[in-house]
């Protein structure tokens, strides 16, 4: 038991050492830039440059696994468009064309989002939001939403297992998934709110923090580079150079 704990502690420490943290504010700006790229480009092909750039950024910030995954998805989608669609019946192209085309365009946003989440704790997020002077009525719901994702995954595993232990028809299974998940979501949300309220989250004083976040030169360089690549990509796209 203690050994397991030690191992966990060590792996946690290692993780923290390995991952460089992107300042959440810089991360949000990069996310916005990615959004602009996604929605302003005309041809999906040019966007590939931006996806490759984001992959490198992911690598720099210590998320090699995510980088590789996104590259594989990108390659897969390009391969499908190049080598399968020209020979496939038209209904397949219609069905999956939208998916591959728009999926590829959305990749930069997903990558920026993943980078933001993987290099930050929730505490740093909230701190950044407070530093940007967002109102508490916005900060808390956003925080709770982030907090809830891993909880949903845990819930889902439990419900899934409980269902294995009984014979259910497909309709019952669907109901059996949704009802306990939703109900436990509401009870969890309520209990969470109770715990937060009894520990003074509604206090109107200016909240303080035990850790500080600072924008460092690396954050500025990352934002600058993303901006540059984004402009290059959009210019190439507009002039139709590729």
């Amino acid at each position: 038991m203690e050994k397991i704990m030690d191992r966990e502690l060590q792996s946690l420490k290692k993780e923290n050492k390995y991952k460089k943290s992107l300042d959440p504010r810089a991360g949000i700006i990069i996310l916005l830039i990615s959004n602009v790229v996604v929605f302003m480009q005309k041809a999906a092909m040019v966007g590939t440059i931006y996806v490759i750039f984001m992959g490198i950024l992911l690598l720099v910030y210590g998320c090699p696994k995510s980088c590789i995954k996104f590259y594989i998805v990108l390659l897969g989608m390009i391969a499908v468009q190049r080598y399968i669609f020209p020979y496939a019946p038209s209904w397949i192209v219609i069905l999956f064309g939208i998916f591959t085309n728009y999926g590829r365009r959305m990749l930069p946003c997903l990558m920026a989002g993943i980078m933001l989440i993987k290099t930050n704790t929730m505490h740093r997020f909230i701190l950044a939001m407070r530093k940007m002077r967002w109102t508490e009525s916005l900060v808390i719901p956003v925080a709770v939403a982030i907090r809830y994702f891993p909880a949903i995954r845990e819930e889902w595993q439990h419900v899934h297992e409980a269902m294995k232990l009984r014979k259910l028809s497909v309709a019952e299974k669907l109901e059996g998934c949704l009802v306990p998940m939703m109900l436990s979501a509401t009870t969890t949300a309520e209990e969470l709110a109770q715990a937060a309220v009894t520990r003074g989250i509604e206090n109107p004083v200016r909240k303080t923090s035990y850790e500080e976040i600072k924008i460092e030169w690396m954050d500025i360089v990352s934002v600058g580079l993303s901006l540059m690549v984004a402009i290059i990509v959009l210019v190439i796209d507009n002039r139709g150079l590729l």
Partner: protein
């Protein structure tokens, strides 16, 4: 001048969604007292704790309350929640839904950050908390990697860091093993020694026996009797059982270390040299035992030792890495075990799919007639609640529903 009355509940009745939960509750608690609220599940213990920490009336909607609750002379109903929060710290039953952040360090700072304390004194307070509660093993951790017991200790610690005068604990030991309970007990002992006022609603009584000053017995929303420590400790096991309470004495187990490897022909369920892996790690190995029909077997051990893994494997949620499991002399594999062996899980909430308690039992028992189900419900004391939604029941009744459903199968 000194007002020794710390908490005063004056003739409070409380109803929630037209159901009367508390009837004319009156209770006075002196400063520095440790009060135990006890009674059957669903008796209203939790509601009383919520009266004190302000969740009733500030948080619970659809409630109707009569009477008044004073804490240190102030009327709770007229104070803002965050003002109450500085004086009263609360630890709840469910360790999973009490933490706000996802890492333990942030969690410890949560209450202090909310009050706007500067970061230097905050760090000092957190360090003090870590030292005095001996929770060095809990810092720098991802909360989702913690066991239920560790989460609960962390929840207590983050309340302790806020240094409240009054602690309200609602079944803090519900998910703890004996080891974690011992740690919790030491934590409570520490706050008692600091002269804090402590209110605990609890089912498990033994670990509190040295700490409590008075015990309040509640039945169906009424305070039946208030015992002094001596009176409460002198209650016999029989009296306790009649009141629906557990033992107040520490059970010293005297298990003989004796291997009971039985022959295959006289056991109905036989586990032979079982080993189970999870996530690439071997969790349990070399497990062999036999169980006869009608036998009740307790599996004991510390948190994380593999109890759940063994049970999960028995009911077919894990596959065996080595060894075999036999039922009535025939080997049964994973899929077949899922159908023939039922498990009531630690968090029953995930297992209750039906719309009513009755429906819940009917869903499982294919072909069994309604009378049979009614009989089962009666056996489990659930007949009165047969038309309620399973998830609206109290924790104990939920477990019983889970049980009766497994039983009616």
């Amino acid at each position: 001048m000194e007002n020794s009355k710390c908490i005063e509940i004056k003739d409070v009745s409380f109803s929630y969604l037209d159901r009367q939960i508390l009837h004319n509750i009156s209770l006075e608690v002196r400063k520095g007292e440790c009060i135990l609220l006890c009674g059957k599940s669903g008796c209203g213990k939790t509601s009383i704790t919520k009266l004190i920490n302000g969740l009733i009336p500030h948080f619970i909607e659809g409630s109707h309350i009569e009477g008044q609750v004073f804490v240190e002379g102030d009327l709770i109903a007229q104070k803002k929640m965050y003002m109450i929060a500085e004086k009263i710290g609360s630890v709840f039953q469910n360790p999973k839904s009490q933490f706000f952040y996802l890492d333990s360090d942030s969690e410890l700072a949560f209450a202090l950050e909310n009050r706007g304390i500067d970061s230097d004194s905050m760090k000092k307070k957190i360090d003090e908390t870590i030292k005095s509660l001996h929770i060095e093993d809990l810092i720098h951790r991802n909360v989702f990697s913690m066991s239920g017991g560790e989460k609960q200790l962390l929840a207590f610690a983050s309340v302790y860091a806020g240094n409240p005068d009054i602690y309200v604990l609602d079944e803090p030991s519900a998910n703890l093993d004996s080891n974690a309970m011992e740690r919790l007990k030491e934590q409570i002992r520490l706050i008692c020694a600091q002269g804090k006022t402590v209110i605990i609603a609890e089912h498990r009584l033994a670990y509190l026996s040295e700490l409590l000053d008075r015990a309040v017995y509640i039945e169906e929303g009424r305070i039946k009797r208030v015992y002094s420590r001596e009176q409460f400790m002198s209650l016999s096991e029989k009296e306790l059982a009649l009141m629906g309470l557990r033992t107040t004495k520490k059970v010293v187990s005297t298990i003989k270390q004796e291997r009971t490897d039985k022959k295959q022909d006289d056991c109905d369920l036989l586990v032979d040299n079982l080993a189970v892996d999870r996530g690439g790690k071997r969790i349990i190995s070399n497990i062999s035992f036999g169980v006869k029909a009608g036998e009740i077997v307790g599996i004991m051990g510390k948190n994380g030792v593999g109890k759940s893994t063994l049970l999960r494997c028995l009911c077919g949620l894990e596959s065996e890495a080595e060894g075999q499991i036999f039922l009535n002399g025939k080997r049964i594999k994973k899929k077949a075990r899922q159908k023939q062996i039922y498990m009531v899980m630690q968090d029953v909430n995930h297992q209750l799919f039906g719309e009513t308690v009755l429906d819940e039992c009917e869903m499982l028992s294919d072909g069994e007639n309604a009378e049979e189900i009614i009989k089962v419900l009666k056996q489990f004391d659930l007949l009165d609640m047969k038309n309620r939604h399973p998830l609206s029941l109290s924790g104990g009744a939920k477990t019983a529903t889970g049980f009766s459903r497994g039983y009616s199968r």
